[in-house]
Amino acid sequence: MERYSRHIILSEVGPEGQERISRSKVLVIGAGGLGCPVLQYLAAAGIGTLGIIDFDVVERSNLQRQVLFGTSSLGMNKAVAARERLTDLNPTINIEAYPERLTTNNALNLFEAYDIIVDGSDNFATRYLVNDAAILCSKPVVYGAIYKFEGQVSVFNYDDGPSYRCLFPTPPAAGSVANCSEVGVLGVLPGIIGSMQANEVLKIVLGLGSVLSGKILCYNAKSSETISLSLGKNSEAYQKVLQGRSQFEGRNYEATCDMVINEITAEEAIRIKEVQFIDVRDAHELPRIQIDGCVQIPLDQLDGQLEQLDSQQTLVLFCQSGIRSRKGVQLLEQHGINSYSLLGGAKSLKQQLKMESECDSAKK
């Protein structure tokens, strides 16, 4: 017990608290920028069973922030390399490495075997998968996410508190939010955010202080400011996930988050014979488009007005620039409806229609 003496002398932990830590089981999703500090502190703290799932291998560009790895780990699977390092750090705990991708097929079984899930993933598909699987298994999720110099931390699905979907009900349009590999990240930032996640895990295990549930903490590394925003539970979002239990394994999270969206140019779109255009902009937005059979359903109402869509026709969604329409295509995909997003939006459609009518009158 010498290993944990600095814990045990804390009256808030003591031998009983340390015993609790050693009986707990924590699964960490992703051994990357966030996963590394989380794993390092939880292994050092003596968490009895630590699970690590990551399909990726260590690359040189990871070493700037993924502090469990060294040059000797290059090319190794991250879960396996992390286990190797952590076994040296604390050989008294049980460490399970899962060198595979988290999917709808393995998530529920894996989550059932653990008490707490830590989300250190780096994409929206996995984040929504983690959220939904955790709701279905009634496990708390210690969430962390980063962007350049800023981080977010929260504990979701804890003690009847809100979930990730209560904050962000649906994934953003594919490609609209970049990840670290695309935009860069200050190396120390995941160290700070990951350490905060490890702290929340220990608070949950020890019943210490107040868990960051019903709140999202936002940290800015440039200003060193933190701000904590409160959020309520969206029971509807919860119920939707619970009701979808039987379809969970068949759901394609990557398709709804990082999917390749069917896009079409205005020139191609107006040549389709059986086509229904759906203007997903708000009613007041200009330019107005006058084209036969065009229906106007603002994006935020699309979900509730599916009956307006003509499934016999090719559906082409457009907005101002082609971003909201991508989101609309994703949304329809979730309802099993195939559609296209118009490249360049209303402006390019208007131009194309003008060119066509000029051509027509020239022919006459």
Binding site: G32, V177, A178, S321
Partner: protein
């Protein structure tokens, strides 16, 4: 009234500032968003939630407090 609006993550790249004071004469969240979209058209294409006085608000909340924050989702890890 004067609103102090904070922009997080990539929203600050759209607005080119982390924070600004905005004069607001309407009363609802949707009116505030319209005003911000008019000022920053590409903000409309972004996903975010709005907090008023450090509490996330939804639907068409009434704007009664001067501290507003726009929070986008982050995916990085």
């Amino acid at each position: 009234m004067k609103l102090n609006i904070k922009y997080f993550g990539l929203l600050a790249e759209v607005t080119k500032c982390d924070e600004e004071v905005v004069e607001f004469t309407e009363t609802t969240l949707s009116a505030l968003l319209e005003q911000l979209f008019a000022k920053y058209p590409s903000l409309k294409e972004k996903d975010f939630q709005v907090a008023q006085n450090n509490t996330i608000v939804s639907g068409d909340a009434e704007i009664m407090e001067s501290e507003i924050a726009l929070l986008p989702p982050f995916s990085g890890g």
